[in-house]
Subunit: 553 residues, 2 copies
């Protein structure tokens, strides 16, 4: 199982990567090497694929007129010619005159010996496959020769193995087995979230055991916009035991030996256990690292307020990019406390990242001066508060424009949900690193970082002080995060309604205020930077809520 990290659209580079892994597999005397779903193109290509409305008969663009499709198919064919002496299964996008398919090719003896199409096309959360693909009608196992033995290989793609979990009527893997498949291969581009490992293992074990068939589950690894593919490919034997596990969040070539039919029980391997915080932190690290690497950026700029959120973002960036590629920017105003300035400085010093301080008071004064004819007679309010945040956003963007680099935004999921953040202010940046991390989890991940680094880089004071945006004197966040952070998760991740939340004991006024805030902040989230998804429901691609919305539930 070649658990590779392709780059979206880099068809030449991805094919080269596939060839390299074929070579490695051959050197390791493997007979068969399996690659992830859409390994040739990267996943998900979305509108790099021609949508239905432009293809015949609705439109007049034949798939073959699309360079993206043509190049991907040509690369697959070339690959088949070049790789000899090993059987490969490679994910790519197949097509005919009018339809596209999410496909896997079996290549053998210098040619593509068979192609299967994905049957179950997920169209929920971050997945949009029915927007592009036509489902397979039926698939047969491919017969391949391995060491003189004829093997019937049943190939399936990602969702095809989730029939029972998601409740599809078609049982793809069962059908392959009833048609004689002796091995099931499952090609994946399955994004990480904090609860998915155990689900995948359960599904694979159950299916292998029930169908008495070994299953090779190969997953993509790497970051793509909001998504992080976590790898951890799995091989399960015909009684449901783990016989191989790939690394999490890293490329890997996982070698497994299998006798067919199974003569003696394989030795079961242990499923690694990870701390939840470790997994989440590492997912963010890979998400940030790949976003920079795959777009060609190196330097990052982070506004350091001395609070826990920006401290965690700096820690993630430090781990993802290296200390030489992170600049912490302190932007104190007349409302900034001494401890904030100190804590930002301490963090930067302990991490060894670059640190600069740009006081914003003169800029704020200049704004207020120019706005005075309009503002006079009005009290100091959210307009003046947001202005400070927007000055800071502009300073960060100016630094990144001038010195080269990307700004990392520092808003957490709880704030984004509640709209407690400033559009074009602290929401500025190329990535919203912790936009899928609740306030409660921010503390946990920050704690994990300090512990794992054996340091106190994130100052202890950051964990203890009352959260404050420091945009006016004695301002503190108007939330009890120990209550509101899990409450928001119940709404976003579990879709609990007002009455259900009240039934569970949440205060009625708090529930109503929270639901209102979530609804009214939709316009801000629509303009938020991409958020790295690490829970089962993140804002961004998988959250499609109207802005104009008068439903008060």
């Amino acid at each position: 199982m070649a658990q590779i990290n392709p780059t979206m659209g880099d068809i030449v580079g991805n094919t080269e990567l596939i060839r390299e892994y074929c070579k490695k597999a051959q050197e390791a005397k493997a007979d068969l090497v399996i690659f992830p779903e859409m390994a040739v193109t990267g996943y998900p290509p979305n509108d790099l694929l021609p949508p239905h409305e432009v293809r015949p008969p609705a439109g007049n663009r034949k798939p073959d007129q699309e360079p993206f499709l043509r190049d991907n198919k040509q690369s697959l064919t070339d690959l088949a010619h070049q790789v000899n002496g090993i059987t490969t299964i490679v994910g790519f996008v197949d097509y005919d005159e009018t339809h596209l398919y999410n496909s896997a090719a079996v290549t053998h003896n210098g040619k593509v010996s068979s192609v299967i199409h994905k049957t179950l096309l997920p169209t929920y959360d971050v997945f949009d496959e029915l927007r592009y693909f036509t489902p397979a009608q039926s698939n047969l196992p491919a017969t391949i020769q391995i060491r003189g033995q004829e093997i019937k290989l049943g190939t399936s793609i990602c969702e095809d193995i989730w029939d029972e979990e998601i409740g599809y009527g078609i049982k793809v893997v069962d059908n392959l087995c009833s048609r004689g498949a002796q091995i099931i291969v499952n090609l994946n581009a399955s994004p990480f979230h904090d609860k998915i490992r155990e689900v995948r293992l359960r599904i694979l074990r159950k299916k292998a055991n029930r169908l008495h068939v070994p299953i090779f589950y190969v997953n993509m690894v790497g970051g793509q916009d909001e998504l992080v593919f976590d790898g951890e490919s799995l091989a399960i034997d015909a009684v449901g035991r783990i016989i191989a596990v790939g690394r999490q969040f890293e490329e890997d070539l996982i070698l497994t030996e299998l006798t067919i039919p199974d003569s003696e029980p394989s030795k079961e391997m242990t499923f690694p256990s990870y701390h939840r915080e470790k997994e989440m932190f590492n997912a963010l690290v890979l998400g940030v690292r790949d976003y920079f690497r795959k777009t060609g950026f190196r330097q990052s700029f982070i506004g350091l307020s001395g609070g826990i959120d920006s401290s965690l973002v700096a820690a993630v960036a430090y781990r993802a990019l290296g200390k030489e590629n992170v600049t912490g920017v302190s932007m104190p105003s007349q409302f900034s406390s001494e401890h904030s300035k100190e804590d930002a400085q301490t963090l930067a010093t302990k991490l060894g990242i670059k640190f600069i301080s740009i006081p914003i008071e003169p800029i704020f004064t200049a704004f207020e001066g120019q706005l005075e004819p309009q503002f006079k007679g009005y009290p100091f309010d959210v307009a003046d508060e947001n202005l400070q945040s927007r000055i800071r956003g502009s300073v960060l963007m100016a630094l990144s424009n001038k010195l080269g680099g990307l700004v990392l935004a520092t808003g957490n999921k709880t704030e984004l949900a509640l709209g407690y953040s400033t559009l074009y202010g602290d929401m500025s940046g190329g990535l919203e690193v912790i936009g899928d991390v609740s306030k409660t989890e921010v503390y946990e991940l920050a704690r994990y970082f300090n512990e794992s680094a054996g340091s106190s880089a994130i100052p202890e004071r950051c964990f203890k002080k009352v959260p404050s945006a420091e945009l006016r004197p004695d301002q503190f966040d108007p939330f009890d995060y120990s209550v509101v952070s899990p409450l928001v998760d119940e709404v976003i991740e579990n879709r609990l309604s007002r009455s259900e939340l009240i039934q569970r004991g949440y205060d009625k006024a708090l529930v109503e205020n929270t639901l209102d805030r979530i609804k009214n902040a939709e316009y801000k989230r629509r303009q938020a930077p991409p958020t790295i998804k690490i829970t089962k429901k993140a804002f961004g691609l998988g959250w499609k809520m109207p802005i104009v919305n008068q439903f008060t539930g």
Copy 2:
């Protein structure tokens, strides 16, 4: 045909509106009144509907636990009880234990007498229906009693009538006719684009004529986020002639008389002809007006640069909101020309909108002063240019925060495509009013406005001067828009590839530069305000392009 303008999620208000129109129809002695698709909820509710992954068997949220679904069904049932003496057909969301349906209810004699589900579920461009809905397996005509006569009524929903155009295998309307339907009703929430009227008419005529059946096509009207529903409901007789046409962009109750079977030929009506510019302008007006009305905002703030783009946005806002609700804000810098300042002022005076001027030089100087330790040794570049744009964005946001209102952004589609705009600068606002209007069309719409208003509110100089962002001395936009504007449209709307564009005679270097710019600006567009869609392919909801993307085509 009751061509109404419901508000997303305002189930109580929408049901009240439906009742009002039932009353009007009864007063006009109508026997049957037909409402648009999802009239009860508004369209498209997107994730206000529970997505697949949270519903059984994948999740544990039964549709009946969702207040949005429950309220919509309850309102529909209540409506059926309350409306008597007239048969109605009303669009709503039906559901059972696990599935949701895009549905139409026939109500008659105080109850829901039948419900049909939509069969063809569009999942392309701005449509995501397979994310939520299960298609109907088969629908029968409903038998209703009208004036003592039994009529077989075939009900279809929107896409159901587009089978031939889009190339679906299932022929919904044909099937209804072969099962005896004497009238076809088609409930729509069909968004406007600049080429859709003629297509709709052609489809309806062809189908009516071929199946020898009258078709009642009722369309929603109103703005919802990016979408504008244009109304213009149509009744077509059994030989394909127009017998009724609703107003464009306004609510309407369209009365038609029909004898079944058709005893004498109806009198054909003329299909109104509109200027393309008039339609596009009016679509923007309705999009802006409804966004404000449906979110409860009144006041708008627009940065007036003296250029054609912001002038057009001001003209749209003036028409949509009234002059008392528009404030033009001039924000000159040391790089602003005299003619820019004059033209902004002239426009405001002629429109009669409020006008304020806030010079930004002192703010820019303060920024540059604070940034000096980082910027010294670097030349004046895009960082300093963007900074001015971001100062203007912050001034506008500060005014809207302090005085109450929404900022309207002023970027056009060509700029958004090319990335020739500043994130958090001129891209700031609640709506990107002309984000789907190409630079060429901006001039045409501005000309249309002046002509239709019989004025020269948009100064003649705006049409003639060389476009400039005026962010440094003697800066002019680095594009020949007469070439680049249509080139961009070929890429975005028609998906032409590099080699196709070169074949059509575009300069190779220009094509490559343009395609690169489009690709590299994706990160900006992901954070752009919602853009009112008026072409067949707008940025926003219907444009799902990855940000990390190394495909160079």
